[in-house]
């Protein structure tokens, strides 16, 4: 599991890339990517291209990110999900809270 993050050139968006199993072991690293920022960006993108698996604690982490980014006003996208990851997000109906592409 590796978490990398990148701020967009204009500073308005942050992309968090998750690699490998996205589970409780990623908790601290995932939080650090947005808690360490000096200001809260307008939008977040969680890139799942390299993520192989997602469990319920990862769903919890996504909710924490959404909360940090402003709750109902938050703009959080989850992109490049493989079918397994997508299925977990769909069962939990997270498309009601996140833009999933």
């Amino acid at each position: 599991m590796t978490i990398r993050s990148e701020v967009s050139p204009d500073g308005r968006g942050v992309t968090i890339a998750v690699e490998g199993r996205f589970d409780f072991s990623a908790h601290r690293d995932f939080r650090e990517t947005y808690e360490s920022l000096d200001s809260t960006p307008e939008s977040f993108t969680v890139d799942m291209r390299e993520a192989t698996y997602l469990d319920s604690s990862a769903l919890g982490m996504l909710l924490l990110l959404r909360d940090h980014a402003g709750g109902d006003a938050a703009e959080v996208r989850i992109v490049n999900c493989n079918p397994d990851v997508r299925k977990i997000l769909t069962i939990s109906n997270f498309e009601q809270l996140f833009e999933i592409r």
């Binding site: 319920s56 604690s57 769903l59 919890g60 982490m61 909710l63 924490l64 909360d67 109902d72 069962i91 939990s92 109906n93 997270f94 009601q96 809270l97």
Partner: protein
């Protein structure tokens, strides 16, 4: 100078013994001496020195055997043993280190001896501290396990409770996990329906068990008072959102089994597909999660909308948590939904047992990684259900004796509010009515449904007799309610009671146009098919009397008790 300790000096040579004793004593330590192996063991047992200096070669018991016995006597405690030796062979010295902790070669050097005692005492203290901490950890762990066991007992009595032992419910809750985060609740409501909830909390620890408490309380409290599924879910969601930290939630499926109508009404948020399996074989229908789990969004955003499915006698509903689907076999392969569908599709295979066996076979000897929770509920006729109906506990034994109540609901209330629990609560204050609580609730809900669905909204119950009738009916009903702009349903209650007996009259009026009341006589004559849907048959059987006034949008049901000789 080092902290003074007791040092045993065992040497058969008097000169060496005296010399060593003097060096040790000069450091402030207490010296205990022994002249041979046997005495060394005796004095060790009697005086418990902290360090032993032991001549390797003594007459009788040799040093190595003495060392072995001292270790035995010392038990858990670490007693450093230093061999005193004139040996110079590497092999012999190595043996000293194998049995003892160090050696000191003759002739003795006082500086080296002092340094060795200090070093070994440091080691001994380190060891003692480690042991103390180990014991403390073991104690704490034992206490924690005891507390967890007690907490699990409480959790089990709360989280896996209600009428789970009813003969139409079969369930499996993995016994290995202390807190697996899975909750199974079941109870009947006053109208005879059975509510079943399967929940899976994120996190397997105390979070789950803490969340389960209010969930169970709300479920049982509201179910027995006759609240609708949506009301119970809305309240559960509100409470969990309030108490759980962000990122923690409860995936859940809740089902209302209506045995009178042979329908199930389902709300599913976050659990894997549940399945409807027909009694006569044939493919299972998945019940798909349409909602966010409980505890994620606020009440304003929470969507309690449900789906209705029609079942036949003997049809089964299978619910599971992701634990089943994620079970891995020795090759690391997951159980998966494909296997589950296959097993459910096998004819005559008694779904639950077959799924359970397949799950165990899949796991083999492997430890269960996650929660394995399965629930299967079978649709039966109401008279076959052996789970008890809720009992009413009212505030007083005396209760009101002469009272009336009028309660009218306008369009905005009719859209969302369910008045039945409130009205039932009032009626149950009358002691004589409590024993008939279930019947009264059924009559109240039939009358209200008739007034609202057929009266105010004007839906025809004929819709229900088509293939997808119920589903279609509930969809139309929802659309009509959302569009409702005017209309009313009015309840008028009048009750009188004395020590000898009493009565309750329930009059329900609606703003609808009424209906052709000539069919009432036919319904009463039990030619049930003449008029489908108003449950008239049932009403006639349950009430002591039932009268339609005017155009039929005004109906009066009466319950009497005692000798009935009560003033009007």
């Amino acid at each position: 100078m080092a902290e003074p300790i007791r040092v045993l000096v065992a040497d058969d040579n008097r000169i060496d013994r005296t010399l060593l004793s003097r060096i040790v004593a000069r450091e402030g330590h207490t010296v205990i001496t022994a002249v041979d192996g046997n005495e060394a063991i005796e004095r060790f047992t009697a005086e418990r020195p902290q360090i032993v200096l032991l001549d390797a070669l003594m007459p009788g018991l040799d040093g190595f055997e003495v060392a072995r016995r001292i270790r035995e006597a010392a038990g858990d405690a670490f007693i450093p043993i230093v061999f005193l030796t004139s040996l110079t062979e590497a092999d012999e010295l190595a043996r000293c280190l194998l049995v003892g902790d160090d050696f000191l070669s003759k002739p003795y050097n006082s500086v080296i001896l002092r340094a060795k005692i200090t070093a070994l005492e440091r080691m001994r203290q380190l060891h003692a501290t480690m042991q103390e901490q180990r014991d403390e950890i073991a104690q704490n762990n034992a206490r924690l396990l005891r507390e967890q066991q007690a907490a699990k007992d409480i959790f089990d009595s709360v989280a896996h409770s209600g009428c789970l032992n009813a003969s139409n419910i079969r369930h499996l809750i993995s016994p290995l996990a202390v807190f697996n985060g899975d909750v199974v609740l079941a109870a009947r409501n006053p109208a005879g329906s059975m509510y079943v909830l399967l929940g899976d909390f994120t996190g397997h620890g105390l979070t789950a068990s803490i969340g389960a408490m209010p969930l169970a309380e709300i479920f049982y409290g509201m179910t027995q008072k006759g609240f609708h599924l949506a009301d119970v879910l809305r309240e559960c969601n509100r409470k969990l959102k309030e108490i759980l930290p962000v990122g923690y939630f409860c995936c859940a499926t809740m089902i209302d089994f209506n045995f009178q109508k042979s329908t199930v009404e389902v709300w599913a948020g976050g659990l894997p597909d549940a399945y409807l399996t027909p009694a006569d074989g044939g493919p299972s229908t998945p019940i798909v999660s349409r909602h966010l789990p409980l505890g994620v969004v606020s009440t304003q955003r929470f969507d309690p909308s449900t789906e209705v499915f029609e079942l036949k006698h003997g049809d089964r509903v299978m619910l599971c948590t992701d634990g089943l689907l994620e079970l891995r076999n020795s090759a690391g392969e997951m159980f998966g939904s494909g296997r589950l569908i296959d097993i459910l599709g096998r004819s005559g295979a008694g779904g639950f047992e077959a799924v359970k066996e397949a799950a165990y076979a899949h796991m083999g000897e492997r430890l269960r990684e996650d929660d394995l929770t399965l629930v299967e509920v079978t649709m039966l006729h109401e008279h076959e259900i052996d789970a008890p109906m809720p009992t009413y506990v009212a505030s007083g034994q005396i209760g009101p004796r002469d009272w009336s109540l009028t309660f009218q609901l306008g369009p905005n209330s009719l859209k969302e509010f369910n008045p039945l629990p409130l009205l039932q609560h009032v009626l149950m204050e009358v002691p004589a009515l409590r024993v008939r609580g279930g019947v009264i609730f059924t009559v109240l809900s039939e009358l209200y449904t008739n007034a609202l669905d057929h009266g105010v909204i004007g839906l025809s119950s004929v819709v229900k007799s088509t293939a997808n009738g119920f589903t279609d009916y509930y969809r139309r009903r929802l659309d009509a309610l959302n569009a409702l702009a005017d209309g009313y349903v009015r309840f008028e209650f009048v009750s009188r009671a004395s020590d000898a007996g009493g009565y309750l009259k329930i009059r329900v009026l609606d703003s609808g146009p009424g209906f052709d009341t000539s069919i009432v006589a036919a319904a009463r004559a039990q030619t049930a098919n003449v008029y489908h849907g108003r449950g008239l048959n049932l009403l006639f059987q349950l009430c002591d009397s039932l009268t339609f006034h005017g155009a039929g949008n005004d109906v009066e049901a009466c319950f009497r008790w005692g000798d009935g000789d009560v003033p009007n």
